[in-house]
Symmetry: C2
Subunit: 432 residues, 2 copies
């Protein structure tokens, strides 16, 4: 089969998967969990082969670490699937019901999006997580994993697919893509792929976004800001800066640019520098910052940079409005925080900053699906439509309108014979 | 100003517009309504100039009719604005609230999308409707109308903009674009335009969709189907077919392809032909249809054709599954209807057909924002993400997450000092 044919058959499967009931989907998820458990040895062998090959190919240490899929990881993924089983079926929920006229009833009901393309790097546990999320939400899936995890991905997708079919899911709902050429091809299949979710480096996500007509859910940059207002508790500000910057440094919600109100700059920045020095964080500062402490001077590029490293950009601003303008100009719409004791200033900041996550007196590190209580996470989106911020199962759903009549025609309403009643209905769609 | 600079200033205005309260936005809408009323003469003069010029340029009669903006149209648009004022402010609604820990509270709140580009043809009332919808939902707007309505669009946008500024809305929130070159340029401004809504012909919408990285909300084709099942009430089926096809023929939710179960074909089709003949509807039929009645024979192109005319494609199918497959293959995901007395068959059809609007025993002509009770309508979307089917004000909104803490850091949760509580909160975001 060509990739186009594969995608067409997955698309067709998606319509059947969309009508599977929650109990059957949960049985399939349970069987997947059991089969993963039963095939530990084969999974670990495949993973060892990937790791050995990747070591020979000099894969960097952090990537090797992410590639590891041992018993602990297997336990975690199985637990993840069982957590997902506990969630109520997100498909077929009545989101709105309206009587348009007697016996003419409109229902807005949740349904899967259709066929999702997911491209991810390195971590094989992502494959299990994504597949189970798609199954639970009734979406068919084209998956492309990193080539370093080739063997592990192959056995995992094989186990998941076979178990799901055995449990009655429609054939062709899941395909693993194995070559880069197919990814290029996939980006052109806007006729049958409804959404692409890329998980990987900025450059990688940016490439996907620039090279497909298919909607993309995700984020490229995570240039997160923290603004210390003139009415901030400076001790709190220091704690939040240290946590936002250093609690985990190579993640998308880590702090990259600190903005400081000029009236507290001289008091805050020298102490802060001492704290950051201890943590090994280097400061790149604006001209005014450099007049307070000894640090590297910023260039216009500084404010557009996501370091994912022990480096912090620092800029002194004249007002909250300046801080907001800076964030809306240079930020990536990911996560931005204000430290202030003034509720009104916080409100202005939270209303005017155009980002998915806007925090008041809290670390930028909290923007995360698990932290938000969503359980499974699809990713973090900086999109302005559909889904924004951390995205849970909801991001894999859309809705359809079902209208039930008894032979109603529009002419009757156009010629005035009948009139719409437009009464909200307090009932679910009567699923047979 | 270049278009890029215009868009940047509108984008900046959008953040301020996003924080306007409902009362102030309603005052602006009321002032717009009053100014439209006060400037009737100037508006009608501008419209007369457009109509005279368009007549000289031999604009087609239906387009001339749509171009007319007389007192009746002015009354309607003013009424539309006042209806919009009555709707509650859609911005700043708390959609979800969760306690992550003591004094660490997460709020998902509705907010505008940002800067919307709307490109529409002909009807000047669309300009008023779109501008007022964007103002109510807090979105900034770049507008491009049809060149035939040049003078009318200019005076209308001028009145709307000046009245809104007088009422305190932020400058630069609304711009009228007047050249085609600027539309091309607009499609490339994905850096500052968040969503494009094209309203016009299929080719026009398709062109926009193919030539921009900006998300597009709308529909190109409306290839709507009606399937007559073997358990259908054939009298009801005839009524629904006539209404779906002829109640209004040049609209996106008009019937284009009729699918008939083979076991009722011989009984239904000859009678139906007689009825359609009376309405002046020509049938293009599949081979089997042509063996029952005298009609033009279909080609493979037939099933992909949206006529918007007194022509109906007719195909005889073997089963409900065949009908579903046909619709999912050739349909445009707009509106599809089944006629059957069997609830189970209807459920299968409604679950498996992948369209925004799926009807049971009702005319396809009902898929419409006003019919659904949404009041103002943004358009009808065949997208699979964000908004589907008729789109009301909701389609112009997204959300942001606001997190309120008292100095909370993530390290405390990673090292086990604290644990998330994840309790749903029954309260609104405490807006200052």
């Amino acid at each position: 089969m060509t990739l186009h044919e594969t995608a067409l058959s997955a698309k067709k499967a998606s319509t059947y998967l969309a009508s599977m009931n929650g109990t059957d989907k949960n049985s399939a998820l349970e069987l997947i969990a059991q089969e993963l458990d039963a095939n530990r040895v084969q999974i670990k062998n495949a993973n060892s082969a990937d790791i050995e090959r990747s070591k020979k190919e000099n894969l960097a240490e952090p990537l090797l670490k992410r590639l590891l899929f041992d018993d602990k990881k297997i336990d975690q993924t199985i637990k993840g699937i069982r957590d997902l089983i506990e969630l109520t079926d997100p498909v077929g929920k009545t989101l709105m019901a309206t009587e348009l006229d007697t016996n003419l009833e409109l229902f807005k009901t949740s349904c899967p999006i259709g066929l999702i393309g997911v491209i991810f790097e390195s971590r094989p546990d992502a494959l299990v997580q994504i597949s189970s999320l798609c199954l639970k939400s009734g979406n068919a899936l084209l998956l492309k994993g990193g080539s370093e995890a080739f063997e592990t991905n192959r056995i995992l997708s094989d186990i998941i697919y076979k178990a799901s079919i055995k449990a009655g899911m429609p054939e062709s709902w899941l395909f693993l893509i194995e070559t880069r050429a197919e990814v290029r091809e996939m980006l052109n299949l806007d006729e049958c792929i409804d959404l692409i979710i890329p998980r990987g480096s900025n450059e990688f996500v940016q490439f996907i976004m620039n090279n497909s007509n298919i909607p993309v859910l995700g984020h490229a940059d995570g240039i997160c800001h923290l603004y210390v207002d003139n009415e901030a508790d400076l001790k709190m500000a220091e704690n939040l800066i240290i946590d936002s910057k250093t609690q985990s440094v190579a993640v998308c919600n880590a702090l990259e640019t600190l903005l400081v109100h000029h009236s507290v700059a001289k008091q805050l920045i020298p102490d802060l520098k001492a704290l950051l020095d201890k943590k090994g964080v280097r400061i790149i500062g604006c001209e005014k910052t450099c007049s307070i402490i000894d640090c590297e001077e910023a260039t216009p590029e500084t404010w557009k940079t996501e370091y994912l490293d022990y480096i912090l950009s620092v800029k002194i601003v004249d007002s909250t409005e300046d801080a907001i303008d800076h964030i809306n100009k240079y930020g990536s719409g990911h996560t931005d925080s204000i430290v202030t004791s003034n509720k009104q200033t916080a409100d202005i900041f939270m209303n005017l900053v155009d980002s998915g996550n806007i925090f008041w007196n809290a670390s930028t590190r909290f923007s995360d699906g698990f932290v938000y209580g969503f359980g499974a996470e699809v990713g973090i989106s900086t999109n302005k439509i559909h889904a924004r911020g951390p995205v849970g199962l909801d991001g894999l759903l859309i809705y359809k309108y079902k209208l039930v009549g008894t032979g109603h025609v529009r002419a009757d309403y156009s010629n005035g014979t009948k009139a719409y009643t437009h009464q909200p209905l307090k009932k679910e769609f009567p699923q047979g």
